[in-house]
Amino acid sequence: MLGILGKKIGMTTYFEENGNAIPCTVIEAGPCNITQIKTKSKDGYDSVQLGFDMIHERKINNPERGRFKKLNIAPLKYLKEMRNFPVENLKEGDKISVDIFQAGDKVKVTGMSKGKGFQGVIKRHNFAGGVRTHGQSDRERAPGSIGASSYPSRVWKGQKMAGRTGGEKVTVRNLKIIKVIPDTNLILIKGAIPGAKTGIIEIYKN
């Protein structure tokens, strides 16, 4: 799947020519370099490794420095593999930039969601909680029963409970591209995307 790596910049309002105000996420996407092309015959599967965000040569280790030197490109901070990437006419070291997208395209965005710490079942699993009235004192956000007694006499594996929330990989599909600005490598996508500002995200063409 054709894709690119990017950085979330933030959200804003975008006005269409007819006056509609669209809530948009601004993403700085690419330019990325292809750092490796994996093939089924050699590696067992087809994929492309993309590199994004320039970094000082001093900040990477020697083997990595050697890799970038061989490809004759500047050292890159983030490397990520993308499966089923169309590799016709592409070779290692080639540049991928925002012009692979056009306004109106539908895309899939993957990112790391914001970490929310230890949360109860209402926030974490959308439980309803207990009743507020009828003499309740401490049941308002409680999970309720977590299992039966004589069978199974234990709690099933995977039972939804409180715990660490957020900070996981989240994908949002069918997001519409509103505008692509190749001069500044910016993309405007309608709606929200996972993660905090400056978070690294993957954008795939649907």
Binding site: I9, G10, T12, T13, Y14, F15, E17, N18, G19, A21, C24, V26, E28, K179, I181, T184, L186, L188
Partner: protein, 136 residues
């Protein structure tokens, strides 16, 4: 933040007149009916201004046929053809939500802003007092 400005700078209007909360303004809104476009006037008191940059909005309240109507306009919307300030008001709140609880004349009336005294006006009043003293 600066990179967002790259996108929004072109969308921000530069010809909006300065107005404040409490002012009476007239907003010319473009209305599309079928394939015809006309301009509708919406006149009322500015109840509040919210947000910043390209997403800035303002809320206008008017009494239409005895019923209070409030509309929120994005200040940079292409649907707004023109904004005209009719009267400058003097208020002590940033948001005039108290207008909702007022009825009758009080609901539409706001103290007008006093114009700053010009130097010439001050001088002329001084000469008047001097003349009075001399005549005594």
């Amino acid at each position: 933040m600066d990179k967002i400005k790259l996108v929004t700078a072109a969308q921000e209007k530069t010809d909006i007149p300065k107005f404040h909360v409490g002012d009476t303004i007239s907003v010319s809104v473009k209305v599309i009916e079928g394939d015809k476009e006309r301009i509708q006037q919406y006149k009322g008191i500015v109840m509040g201004i919210k947000g910043s940059g390209v997403s800035k909005t303002f809320r206008v309240r008017k009494i239409s046929n005895g019923i209070g109507v409030e509309r929120i306009f994005p200040i940079n919307s292409p649907k707004i053809a023109k904004i005209e300030v009719l009267k400058e008001g003097s208020v002590r709140r940033a948001k005039l939500y108290y207008l909702r609880n007022l009825t009758g004349k009080a609901a539409t009336k706001i103290k007008e802003k006093k114009k700053k005294k010009l130097i010439e006006d001050v001088l002329s009043t001084d000469t008047v007092t001097q003349n009075n003293e001399e005549s005594r």
